[in-house]
Symmetry: C2
C-alpha cells in the first residue's frame, strides 16, 4: 500500500505532534507496523558491520532480514505502510533496500543516537494517533511461518484495542539461556494470557525448569498496543524517557518521509529496553503465544540452527569446500574456504576478516569485537 | 663468488657434454652446490602455489627458503657458485629472488618436466666434471645452525673424494612418521658411517623403536658425491634414467646461464627419487650424522614446530588476533584473522583461499589440493 502523502504532511517541516494524515486519522482501523532497525548486530561480525548491520544482510534467504520483515506486514488489508526507526547513517541503504524490493515505508524516523528500544518505540508512538494499533517488531528476526504470525497478531488485536500492551511469546523448543522468558498467567481470551512475569536470560537449570513447567515463553521482542496506551504506561513508569522523547519529537524536522528528532533532546532519554521500562512494570500486560518458526538469528549458533544441513550436519555457504568436516557453519563472501577434518567449528570469512570459533560458543564474538573496537579496527565499519 | 664466464661457454649453444669452463676443470677443489628447486610444495597450500612454490616463500624468516639455502653455501672459500635445477616456469622468479638478495648461480638448469630427484640430479651431474664434488640440497629446508652444516660437509668430503656417495643423517628428536630413516652401520671415519639401510616412512611404533635403538637418522635428502661416482652408480642401478638424461643433456640448448635440456628425451626418464634409484642399491654409501636445527618445513605441522610460540603455545603471523586460543598455527597474508576459544587448529589465509584443519593432521592438505585440482581451482596457480 502506498503511504498517504497529503499536503498537510509536506508543509510540516518542523515539529512532530500529530503527523498522521487527515484522511487516515481515526478512520483507518488497520494496524501500523513499527519496524525497529537501529541495531548494530555486532554479534554477527564479520558479516555484520557498522555500515551494514545484520538486518541489512541476506542472512537466511535471498532477501535481507529487513526486506523479509517488511514482507510479513505487506498485506494492505491488515497493515498500513510501516514506520521504520533507523539510525541516520543507514537511511540511504534502507531506502535502497526498500525500493530494490518494491517495498515502501510510510515514515523513516531517523534515530539521532541509539538509546535502546523504549525511546525508539516512543518516537514511533508519538508519530501516530493515540488510538492507532502499533505492531512493534525487530527488523532482524526470522519467521518461517508468516501466516501463524499474522493470525497471532489478529488474535492479539482485540485485547490491544482495549488498551492492553501485548507481547508475543515464542514457544520454546530448548532450554535456551540466551533469551528472556515470559511466564503465562490466567487466560484472558482464547490464546491470550496475562503476562505474569518477565524473566531475564536464565541459567541453564532455570531454563530447563521453565521448559518442564510448560507455562513459559521466550520473549520475542514483538509487541502490539495502542500508541496512546504505550505512551501512558511509559509516562507513568519511565517519565524521563517520555519527557526526553516528547522534546525530541517536538523539535523534529521533516523532509518528505524522513523525520529527524532533535538529537540533543533524544540523547537525554535513558537508554532502556521496552521490557525494563514498561512491560515488566505496567498493568494490563498480555502475552499471545505463537509458534511461527521464529529465531532471532542473533548469533552464528542461531544461524547454524536455522540453516539447512548437509548429510554431515554442516551448514555451508557458497565458495566453501568442506572435506571430512562435521556439524560446522562455514561461510565465505571472500576467499575460498577449505576445511579438512574439523568438527563443530564456525568459520565466517569476508573480503577483509575471518572469524573462527567453536560452535556453541559464538556469543564470544563479542570479545573479538571488543578487542577490535579498542584498536579502531576498520573491519568493524 | 662470480661464476666463470669463459668464451667457451657462451659459444656452446647446443649440447651439454662438459660445460664447465677450462680454467676450473680439474683445478678448483671447491664443492659445487646443486640446489634442487623443482618441487611444487602443495603441502603448504594455500601459501604455496604452482606459480610460487614453497621454496620461493619467506616461510621461516625474512628471506625465502631458496635465498636462505643459497646463503648456506655462499662461502667462496669452500663453495663454487651453485647450479640450480628449477622448472622452466620459475626461471624468472628465481632470477629475481637471487638478484634481490645479491646472490648468483653458476647455472640455471631448467627442468622440462618434473621427474623426481634422480633425473634432476643427473642433469646437474652431467653438467659438471666427473671429479667435481657435488653437494646436492633441496631448496626448501630450514637449517638454523649453518656452521654445523658446513662442518658436516667438510667431514664428508674426504670419503666423498674417494668415490663414496654420502648422505647426511639428521639426528631425530621425535618418532616422526613423515620422514625416511637411515640406519648407521660401522664407522668409516670420525663422524662418518656406512649407511646400512634406507627405510621409508615407518609407522609410529617402528619410528619409536628407531629412536630407542639410537642408530637411526632421518634422511634429510642432502647428498655429497663426485659427479662421476653418482653417474656411474646411476648407470648401473637405473640405466633408463641415465640414458634418458644423457640424451636430454646432449640435446640441450643454452642461453647464457640458462640451460634447457631436451624435453622429449627428459620426459622418458623414469620419475624416481635418488634414494630409490641409487642410494638404496649402490655400494659405498656413507651417512654423516649432523645436528643442525634441520626441518624440512614440509607441512603446516612442521612450520608450527619450528615457529616461535607465544605464551599460549600459538605460532602467529601478522594480521592475526588470537583470543583465548592455544597451540594454534595462525597465518594470514589476506583478511584479518580472528580466532576465539580454539585449540590445536591450523588456519592459513591468503587473499583468495583459507585452509582450516586440525594441528597434527596437516598432511591432509593433500586431500584438499586433490579436490581443488579436480575442479582446476585457480587458487592452486
Amino acid at each position: 500500500v502506498d503511504p498517504p502523502s497529503g499536503g498537510q504532511r509536506r508543509c510540516q517541516s518542523k515539529g512532530w505532534g500529530r503527523i498522521v494524515s487527515a484522511e487516515q486519522d481515526g478512520q483507518d482501523r488497520r494496524i501500523t507496523p513499527v519496524i525497529l532497525s537501529g541495531g548494530a548486530g555486532t554479534r554477527l561480525w564479520p558479516r555484520s558491520r557498522t555500515s551494514k548491520p545484520k538486518q541489512m544482510l541476506p542472512l537466511t534467504g535471498s532477501e535481507t532480514m529487513l526486506q523479509m520483515t517488511m514482507r510479513r506486514v505487506a498485506d494492505a488489508a491488515l497493515f498500513r505502510a510501516p514506520m521504520l526507526v533507523v539510525s541516520e547513517q543507514h537511511a540511504a541503504i534502507v531506502d535502497a533496500q526498500l525500493s530494490e524490493a518494491g517495498l515502501a515505508a510510510d515514515l523513516l524516523i531517523l534515530e539521532p543516537s541509539g538509546r535502546n528500544t523504549a525511546p525508539a518505540i516512543a518516537l514511533a508512538a508519538m508519530a501516530a494517533n493515540a488510538d492507532d494499533l502499533l505492531l512493534v517488531m525487530p527488523s532482524d528476526h526470522r519467521i518461517t511461518d508468516p501466516d501463524s504470525f499474522t493470525a497471532a497478531v489478529e488474535r492479539a488485536s482485540a485485547i490491544a484495542s482495549e488498551g492492553w500492551l501485548v507481547t508475543f511469546g515464542i514457544r520454546p523448543d530448548r532450554p535456551e539461556t540466551g533469551y528472556g522468558y515470559i511466564k503465562r498467567g490466567e487466560a484472558l481470551m482464547t490464546g491470550v494470557f496475562r503476562a505474569e512475569q518477565f524473566i531475564e536470560k536464565p541459567d541453564a537449570a532455570t531454563a530447563q525448569a521453565y521448559i518442564d513447567q510448560g507455562d513459559y515463553e521466550w520473549n520475542g521482542g514483538i509487541f502490539l498496543f495502542k500508541a496512546g496506551a504505550f505512551l501512558a504506561a511509559l509516562e507513568r513508569h519511565a517519565p524521563a524517557i517520555h519527557a526526553a522523547v516528547r522534546e525530541a519529537a517536538d523539535g523534529a524536522t521533516r523532509d518528505q518521509r524522513r523525520v529527524r528528532p532533535d538529537g540533543k533532546a533524544f540523547a537525554n532519554a535513558p537508554a532502556i529496553s521496552i521490557d525494563h521500562a514498561v512491560m515488566e512494570l505496567a498493568d494490563r500486560i498480555a502475552v499471545v503465544p505463537v509458534d511461527m518458526g521464529w529465531s532471532d538469528a542473533g548469533s552464528w549458533d542461531a544461524i547454524y540452527e536455522i540453516g539447512e544441513k548437509d548429510s554431515e550436519g554442516n551448514v555451508l555457504g557458497s565458495d566453501v569446500l568442506a572435506l571430512d568436516s562435521r556439524n560446522c557453519l562455514l561461510q565465505s563472501s571472500g576467499p575460498l574456504l577449505v576445511t579438512v577434518g574439523v568438527e563443530d567449528l564456525v568459520v565466517i570469512a569476508t573480503d577483509d576478516a575471518i572469524l573462527v570459533l567453536p560452535r556453541g560458543q559464538t556469543q564470544r564474538v563479542r570479545a573479538a569485537v571488543d578487542a577490535l573496537r579498542e584498536r579502531s579496527d576498520p573491519t568493524l565499519n
